[in-house]
Amino acid sequence: MNTRAAKAKPKAHVNGANDKQEFLELYRQMCLIRQFEEACGEQYSRGNIRGFLHLYIGQEAIAAGVMRSLRAEDYVVTHYRDHGHALARGLDTNRVMAELFGRATGLSKGKGGSMHIFDAAKGFMGGHAIVGGQLPLAAGLALACQYKGTGGIAVVFFGDGAVNQGVFHETMNLAAIWDLPLLFFLENNLYGMGTAAERTRAGGVDIYPIAGSYGIEAAMIDGMDVLAVREATGEAVKKIRAGEGPKFIEAKTYRFHGHSMADPARYRDHAELDYWLSRDPLKSFPKMMLDRELATAEELAVVRKSADDEVASAVKFSLESPPPAKSELFTDVYA
């Protein structure tokens, strides 16, 4: 059983009622992602979403916690498990869902699908489905920020599986020698598809020490704790903006479902899953708010309801949206 995250110390500081709005917002984002993903699973079984679908359920605290430190001029790049990052970055819920439905109103007009979500206007530069392929792109975006002096940075999300691709190492090296304003954010959910990280990673499941060998400062945090994520990201982003070059954060987390809809996840034992389910951020975070009297049960219920409604209307919007015109097959190939 893998319960590594238990050893990562919770770092969150709570500053009383001032944080109330902020915490409710974090909770709203996590609820939105959870509800969105549940709806995706259902729509997949109805055949409205097809192809490969990778749910983010269990990892919500990361997307929600990271994005709070970002600004409009920053870039976000991620892999195919991308809905959570997209929603937390503030992409339009309707248009993300419509993309999964393959509709003309989707962010990529239905051409990209679940694994390839883009919203360039929001600095959301994909959704990339070749493992590790997004890392150099993020370096280039960070280079552009540095070159133009925009003050922006790039954040790149990737999984424990991606660290075994050569481009991961090459990107860290390049980012380090050029002092790129780039945050490497590793979501270590302990598995790359059906393979446990401990079986494919020399040096064990803690990956962040690799960053040190490139001279990149790294931290490991509990990815089930949205405040720990927010705090660690805030610190790292501050240093990156101050010109300290790339930083690295590893968050231990867990996907509660299989790798994709095709994966029944038989390779994980029940005790392990139960352990991680018991750390569900959608349970622990509202509980903390209630315990510390930062919110009432009614206030939390209102947040949940608004997330449910937003997702329900996104499904409705998608169902009512037209498919792309046949002529779209030939557009967007060249400038």
Binding site: G51, G110, K111, M115, Q165, T200, K326, L329, F330
Partner: protein, 325 residues
């Protein structure tokens, strides 16, 4: 004779090799404990153990390159790439190592290895996951490239690949693992470099491979209703190409159509059409009819993807245009 699926035929070929040749081992992502993304190696780890069935990190360039090294030192690696779309990150190792080493070393280094990978569009996996790089690899001298469309060919070609002295790319049509067919008993083989006539007819020669065969067989049925007898040829081997079988068929039919389920431009069928033009232009009643996927990245949306993929209607329309039939 036994009825097997393509998946079972490949399993049989792999198991035979594991049992008969101690130098054979299999490696790839999620092939062991998980049983393979398309369940081809399901149960293998339990049966053959971790020395023979190696789960790899997601490091295609390195485990394919390591396969080259192992082969050069006398082993016979069988590598599974989860999708041929992911072979791109390992192209340098495939082309510069697996394919070029023998030549560059004046014949000293041999790389007998099989690289298996599912290929092809049609499952709404969008641009990054739907590509057909066997048509790129078929151009590379020094490696061979085969693509079965029936269970018997899958087993026969795999046996040949496993005893070949070169690296063989074994492209498996991803949508056809469940296709059933009769497989002869005994140790028959299908030679690499030999096309197969799957249906005979005297009026028109239809050529494709892999997923394209389903389209050609439907087209042949449609044509038969109009009294036109199509000869349906499965390339099976993209490299080396068996032009003799195709040219012999064209001598009989005087008409030819090539179908590529991969993008039309620069695909292997473009080569077939060009060679037909060289070898049989006097025999052809019109230009070789060519059908292929649209020259665009693969879209996710189902209607767009179907629009990009060649269909029976496209085959029939193309024949009408070239030959008026």
């Amino acid at each position: 004779m036994a009825e097997l699926t393509i998946r079972q035929a490949i399993q049989r070929g792999l198991e035979e090799a594991l049992q008969n040749d101690p130098n054979v081992f299999i490696m790839g992502e999620d092939i062991g404990k998980y049983g393979g993304a398309y369940a081809v190696t399901s149960g293998f780890l339990e049966k053959y153990g971790p020395k023979r069935i190696k789960d790899t990190p997601i490091s295609e360039a390195t485990f394919i390159g390591a396969g080259v090294g192992a082969a050069a030192a006398g082993l016979r690696p069988v590598i599974e790439i989860m999708s041929i779309s992911f072979s791109l990150v390992a192209f340098d190792q495939i082309v510069n190592m697996a394919a070029n080493l023998r030549y560059m070393s004046g014949g000293q280094i041999k790389v007998p290895m099989v690289i298996r990978a599912p290929t092809g569009a049609g499952a709404q996996l969008a641009a990054t996951h739907s590509q057909s790089f066997e048509t790129w690899l078929a151009e590379v001298p020094g490696i061979k490239c085969v693509a079965p469309s029936t269970p018997a060919d899958a087993l026969g070609l795999l046996r040949s690949a496993l005893s070949d002295g070169n690296t063989v790319i074994f492209a498996e049509p991803a949508q056809m693992y469940g296709v059933k067919g009769d497989v002869p008993d005994g140790r028959f083989t299908v030679p690499i470099g030999k096309a197969s006539v799957q249906r005979s007819g005297g009026d028109v020669t239809l050529v494709s491979y892999g997923h394209g065969m389903r389209v050609l067989h439907s087209a042949a049925e449609d044509l038969a209703k109009r009294g036109i007898e199509a000869e349906v040829v499965d390339l099976r081997s993209l490299s080396p190409l068996d032009m003799d079988t195709i040219v012999a068929s064209v001598h009989k039919t005087n008409r030819a159509l090539t179908l590529d389920m991969a993008r039309r431009t620069g695909g292997i069928m473009a080569e077939v059409a060009a060679r037909l033009q060289e070898a049989a232009s006097d025999w052809l009643d019109g230009p070789v009819a060519r059908v292929g996927a649209e020259d665009v990245p693969w879209p996710y949306n189902r209607e767009l993807e179907q629009e990009a993929l060649p269909r029976v209607e496209d085959v029939l329309a193309s024949l009408k245009k070239s030959y008026g039939i």
